[in-house]
């Protein structure tokens, strides 16, 4: 096919690295300065396809030199809004890496670009060619961008000046992301991308809950739904609040029925025990109920040992995925630990009783400070007994539930308050049902030939292919 650019554009070049010896020029990066920024603008403010360069062009640069580098795109369209800027901006990395001989690393003010000598030999001589290709890709992939223009800056002082502005914008954006919660929006987004593999899975993406795979946040969902409202990501109007703490909404439930093919009809977004969110299979961490301490443990994919219940990640994950609503296990992305609504229906962090050390380190900043030391890892406990002792010794908040449980058991009546954290936990039989082999739970069974049984056989010849001993006490 004809190509208007002197370079190939293909996802094939995504992983391409430009080494120092092959490099014609280095832009931004750790030894220089730069940034990339996408800004929304009005339709009449932009001349579609315009390119402006402030500073020297590629042809004016010396081989082996290094320069500051800023890429600013202004986008406009009827559906374009500031909330989409960050999403569009992140794609600059993807698209620019499609360009053969052009390496783009990192994002925002950490960008690092190299152009290799071969690209120059093949005819790359101006940033205009790079910008035009990038803008073409933006418009192809994100049709809500009706107009786009690019301003590239290589003039050092100008880069510095604009960079200070850009940093303010990033900060404001981050503040907005952090400050945006489920209660602040009217729509959530559904993602069914993984139904190509997990036919009944529906991910509900809310400001306080990133998709399970970690790839789609609320803003991504919003952008994708604008590109194609009938596509795999779509708006879910919240509808009526059914359970605010658990995160149950009538709109979400309606969608759940339709998209799971009727497999399930209720989802509580921030609940572990009641109508939990489904998992496809990509989840990074699996939560597991530990009935012995009435708490929830979490084990991540990279942890190869056994959790205190004697089971490994892969075993428990095997119970969890496949787009099914499983009570007693829950798959989540690491980012969900950062949500302020993290399993809030079940007591949130107060209910967390174990996780591997590496995982705890990774998310330490998001664990309530007073709990970090009360949360044991594989270094502190090895089995259920030592887990229980540890929690008791450290006065982990979950121990308060134990007392309550004892009390309510004596009273022999449930308080009936479903929103009360932990209250329904004991009454859920499913976790035990789902625990795989290895957990002692089957009642011991008497086998033929046991005491007190008299058998009289005459003229018999018995051939037993195999005898299965169940629950023989060791």
């Amino acid at each position: 096919m004809a190509n208007e650019f002197p370079f190939e554009i293909s996802p094939m070049f995504e992983g391409e690295r430009v080494r120092k010896d092959d490099m014609f020029v280095e832009l931004a990066g750790p030894k220089s300065r730069g940034f990339e920024l996408v800004k929304a603008a009005g339709l009449d403010e932009i001349e579609d396809g315009r390119f402006t360069l402030i500073g020297p062009d590629i042809s004016q640069m010396q081989e082996g030199s290094r320069h500051p580098y800023a890429m600013i795109y202004r986008i406009a369209g009827k559906l374009v809004e500031p909330d989409l800027e960050a999403i569009v901006e992140r794609r600059n990395h993807d698209f620019q890496n499609y360009i053969q001989g052009y390496m783009h690393l990192n994002q925002r003010y950490d960008v690092w670009v190299r152009i290799n000598k071969d690209a120059i030999k093949k005819g790359l001589k101006s940033f205009e060619q790079i910008a035009k290709a990038t803008m073409m890709l933006f418009k192809n992939e994100l049709p809500f961008i009706e107009k786009i223009e690019a301003i590239y800056v290589t003039e050092p002082e100008e880069v510095e000046k604009q960079r200070a502005e850009a940093i303010k914008i990033y900060e404001a954006r981050d503040a907005r992301t952090r400050g945006l919660h489920d209660e602040d929006v009217d729509v959530f987004y559904g993602c069914t991308l993984c139904q190509s593999f997990a036919p009944t899975n529906v991910c509900v993406v809310t400001p306080d809950r990133i998709s399970l795979c970690g790839a789609i946040n609320w803003f991504d969902g919003r952008a994708a739904a604008k590109v194609d409202p009938e596509g795999p990501q779509f708006a879910i109007p919240k509808g009526e609040i059914i359970d605010e703490k658990g995160g149950e909404y009538s709109g979400v439930n309606e969608k759940a029925v339709a998209l799971s093919g009727g497999e399930y009809s209720r989802i509580k977004i921030h609940s572990f025990f009641e109508y939990p969110h489904t998992s496809c299979g990509c989840f990074e961490v699996v939560g597991f109920y530990v009935p012995e301490v009435d708490g929830i443990g979490w084990v991540d994919r990279d942890f190869s040992g056994n959790a205190p219940n004697g089971l490994a990640f892969s075993t428990m994950a095997g119970q969890t995925g496949g787009g099914k609503q499983i009570i007693g296990f829950l798959g989540v992305g690491v980012n969900y630990f950062r949500s302020p609504k993290f399993i809030q229906a079940d007591g949130g962090w107060n209910r967390v009783v174990w996780m591997p050390k590496n995982l705890r380190e990774k998310i330490k900043a998001d664990i309530p400070q007073e709990l970090v030391d009360k949360l044991p890892t594989e270094e502190d406990v090895s089995d259920l007994k030592s887990l229980k002792d540890y929690l008791e010794k450290k006065q982990h908040p979950v121990t308060k539930l134990w007392k309550k449980e004892e009390a309510s058991a004596e009273a022999e009546s449930s308080d009936g308050d479903a929103s009360q954290a932990g209250a329904p936990a004991w009454s859920v039989p499913a976790p035990a049902m789902n625990l795989p082999a290895g957990m002692p739970m089957m009642p011991p069974m008497q086998l033929g030939g046991g005491e007190g049984v008299k058998i009289v056989l005459k003229n018999a010849k018995i051939t037993i292919d195999r005898i299965v001993l169940k629950g023989k006490e060791k």
Binding site: P11, S196, C213, A317, K458, R466, V468
Partner: protein
């Protein structure tokens, strides 16, 4: 009462005998589950028919007569029936079944040998340990409907395989099965049994012999004809079965002999030796057997089973290399010395009294080989024994060539040998050096030369410079793909950043040299395909280096993630590649695996963008593996020699009604694009193969992200290697979102030229595609899996 295995009589009971076959401890119950556990020949016939209705068996018989029985031989040309009533189509299908049975028997017999041996050594209760996985034996579970916990649990599995293979073999006899389609259904059954036999073999050796357990960063092993220090005594193990080499490696380890003796393997034994002891080395595939023996470097040859040349003893004898056969299947007429003292055997071999020995006591083999090597090595080195000509003789031989081209006609690869001879006369060896890479080392040229030039020896002599530099690296076989890796990769598969999973497997009968495999794998790795390899192909991938001196294994990591290069291990480790698709169905869709072959295969066929490439497939085993993969819904491409398997499964896109699938949500019929287009097909050249394998990764369930990336690579590979747009790219476009992002506008123009309607304002396709994209579409070929049917 104490219950134990065996039979016993209860005193006091009158004439009562109770036999107990097996005791299962608590928590170890293997409950047989699923719709088709332990499928009989007929149990999965409906599924076979479903795929055969779409993927038509196409026959390329090498013989149009049948001479199976004494009625014959019968001429089957022109639709004539033979004396028994069979026609050429059925006879060809019968050949396919026979080939698949042979292959399946090989792997299963290998598994049986290992199982008996490992049970003797480790006991039936030795636990299965394959690494971090919930589904530990996916094929066993899917076929048998049970979850094995100990190696003893595989006993009934192999019994099942053996019984089924006997049933299938019986159906080949004259006067048995008569319909081609049922021969093919039976061949698919044999292929499935092959996968099962391989899984058993590899899981038990991983579990007992401490081979890597789904490890991503296994160490590198050296590979190539130039890696050994030929001044030391050299032991070469040839074949596929680790049992004997393990003893040799243990003995050498114990006595600290790794500095004194070089030990390496030829063919898959080599993989398993490195998995067992990372000090071991790899010479290469079966193609290297004759070449390496003729070099005279080996001082002792140890054979076990499969892919061992029939003339090893004959060749070795000429060069005073003793051959120790260690497996009942290959005995070469050698005297059985299993019960003789080691020193006596060594004496007889060193003195030349005997050319080799059959020794089935493997412990004895372990002790004998190092001793023999230490003794005979120095003697052979002193005599400088080699089959290769010296410089003067070489000159004389090449000048003898009359350019009659008989060697080229007999050569499986039609190599231009006489051109290389002519160039060598004037001192230019470069053409021979090229031939060395392309030559599969079969030795047929030796017999074809009318002036008695030992052609293979001449090639090898001329290629000494490149052989000395033949030093590559192979990442040691990792075993299975662990569940956590698959979970992590799920995101890439869904988001389309991984365009597909390609298995590069099979043997070394390449049409144009081993370098092709390297080139193709490099291209597909750059395109972020996951490459999983095993067996001889895994070796050949590691034979070449880039300009920085790095092999592909050193350049690309070994995790199951986009753009990575994995080696599962030996031939029997192939099972793990197929098994990975079962894991995908289990992990992401929660499909029940136990005894549920049809549903799993249906999922794989419609959803998992995986394809196999057996570019140099030569053996019946490779055919069996491919056929097993086909039954699981995985398409396979073979190299041009694959046509000599005489049967392909070809889809016909122009027959629209053969591409109907059901939507499991409501049972409605949807006409879909031909994806995957074929189940078993050959390609002529690597240029043709690359776009083809990209195309075979399309699946009806692709979301737009996935389809766009798959289409990108299909189009780009076609343009790059065939210099044209593929003829059928537009068939795979369901909406504008399916189009490669970098060429969206250009492609929309092309679609408009084809008569499609485009709304340029909205940049949308409004008319043209076969169907709409619907990510929730649940394609299936099995009516009972539809919602309506369930009610």
């Amino acid at each position: 009462m104490i219950i134990k295995k065996g039979s016993f009589v209860i005193e006091g009971l009158d004439n009562v005998q109770i036999n107990i076959g097996k005791i299962v401890e608590p928590g170890q119950e293997s409950i047989i589950e699923g719709p088709t556990p332990r499928p009989e020949i007929i149990s999965l016939r409906n599924w076979d028919y479903r795929i055969l209705d779409r993927y038509h068996p196409v026959y390329t018989p090498t013989s149009d007569t049948c001479d199976y029985c004494t009625y014959g031989k019968c001429d089957l040309t022109g639709n004539k029936e033979g004396a028994c009533g069979i026609d050429l189509e059925s006879q060809s299908a019968r050949e396919a079944l026979k080939t698949a049975i042979m292959g399946a028997a090989c792997h299963s017999a290998h598994g049986r040998h290992l199982l008996n041996y490992l049970i003797r050594k480790y006991g039936e209760d030795h636990p299965i340990d394959v690494g971090p996985s919930n589904l530990k034996a996916p094929l066993t579970e899917t076929i048998m409907g049970l979850q094995p916990k100990t190696i003893g649990d595989f006993l009934p599995v192999l019994e099942y395989v053996e019984e089924q293979l006997t049933q299938l073999t019986a159906s080949i006899n004259t006067g048995q099965e008569g319909a081609a389609i049922d021969f093919e259904s039976k061949a698919l059954h044999a292929g499935m049994l092959d996968l099962l036999g391989m899984e058993v073999a590899d899981i038990i050796q991983i579990s007992c012999l401490n081979m890597p357990r789904a490890e991503e960063n296994t160490p590198m092993a050296e590979i190539g004809m130039g890696i050994l220090d030929s001044r030391k005594p050299v032991v070469i193990c040839v074949g596929h079965n680790i049992a004997a080499p393990a003893y040799i490696l243990d003995y050498m380890d114990r006595d600290g002999l790794f500095d004194k003796i070089e030990i390496a393997g030829l063919c898959c034994t080599a993989h398993d030796m490195t998995r067992y002891n990372k000090t071991a080395k790899i010479i290469g595939s079966m193609s290297k057997e004759l070449k390496y023996i003729r070099s005279g470097i080996p001082d002792v040859l140890v054979t076990d089973e499969q892919c061992v040349r029939a003339d090893i003893l004959k060749e070795a004898k000429k060069l005073f290399i003793p051959v120790i056969a260690t497996n009942e299947k290959i005995t070469y007429g050698l005297p059985d010395r299993s019960n003789d003292p080691v020193d006596a055997i060594v004496d007889d071999l060193v003195s030349g009294k005997q050319a080799g020995a059959l020794i089935l006591d493997l412990e004895k083999v372990g002790e004998l080989i190092p001793k023999l090597a230490m003794k005979i090595g120095p003697i052979r080195k002193a005599r400088g024994i080699t089959a290769l000509p010296d410089d003067a003789e070489f000159k004389r031989l090449v000048s003898k060539c009359t350019k009659c081209l008989q060697c080229t006609r007999d050569c499986p690869q039609s190599l231009p040998i006489s051109d290389a001879m002519a160039a060598a006369v004037s001192g230019d060896l470069s053409k021979f050096e090229e031939l060395h890479d392309k030559c599969v080392g079969c030795g047929r040229c030796d017999y074809s030369c009318p002036v008695d030039i030992p052609v293979l020896n001449v090639i090898e002599k001329a290629a000494q410079r490149v052989i000395r530099e033949e030093k590559g690296k192979v990442r040691i076989g990792r075993g299975q793909i662990g569940d956590p890796e698959i979970r992590e990769e799920g995101r890439n598969l869904v988001l389309g950043t991984t365009p597909g999973v390609l298995a590069f497997v099979g043997c070394g009968n390449y049409p144009d040299g081993t370098k092709d495999v390297y080139d193709v794998v490099e291209e597909m790795l750059q395109r972020s395909y996951i490459i999983i390899s095993s067996g001889c192909a895994a070796m050949d991938i590691g034979m070449y280096k880039d300009k920085e001196g790095k092999t592909l294994y050193e350049r690309y990591p070994g995790r199951f993630i986009k753009g990575n290069l994995l080696n599962t291990g030996s031939c029997v480790s192939n099972a793990h590649i197929a098994a990975t698709t079962i894991k995908v169905a289990s992990i992401f869709a929660g499909r029940k695996t136990k005894g549920n072959w049809e549903e799993i295969a249906d999922y794989v066929l419609n959803r998992v963008g995986a394809a196999g490439v057996a570019w140099g497939a030569y053996s019946q085993k490779a055919f069996a593996i491919a056929t097993g993969c086909n039954r699981l819904g995985i398409p396979v491409v073979a190299g041009p020699h694959g046509t000599k398997y005489r049967r392909a499964f070809i889809g016909k896109p122009y027959r629209k009604d053969e591409w109907n699938v059901l939507d499991a949500r409501d049972g409605s019929t949807i006409n879909v694009e031909p994806a995957p287009e074929h189940l078993m097909i050959t390609a002529e050249t690597k240029e043709e193969m690359m776009p083809l394998i990209a195309k075979l990764c399309f699946r009806p369930s692709d979301n737009s992200l996935g389809r766009a990336i798959k289409l990108t690579h299909y189009i780009e590979l076609s343009e790059k290697y065939l210099k044209k747009m593929p003829d059928d790219w537009h068939i795979y476009v369901r909406s504008e979102a399916d189009l490669p992002v970098a060429k969206r506008e250009q492609l929309m123009k092309l679609l408009e030229e084809k008569g499609w309607k485009i709304d340029w304002e909205k940049k949308k396709i409004t008319e043209g595609p076969l169907r709409k994209v619907d990510v929730s579409f649940q394609p299936t070929n099995v009516p009972r899996l539809c919602k309506e049917a369930k009610k």
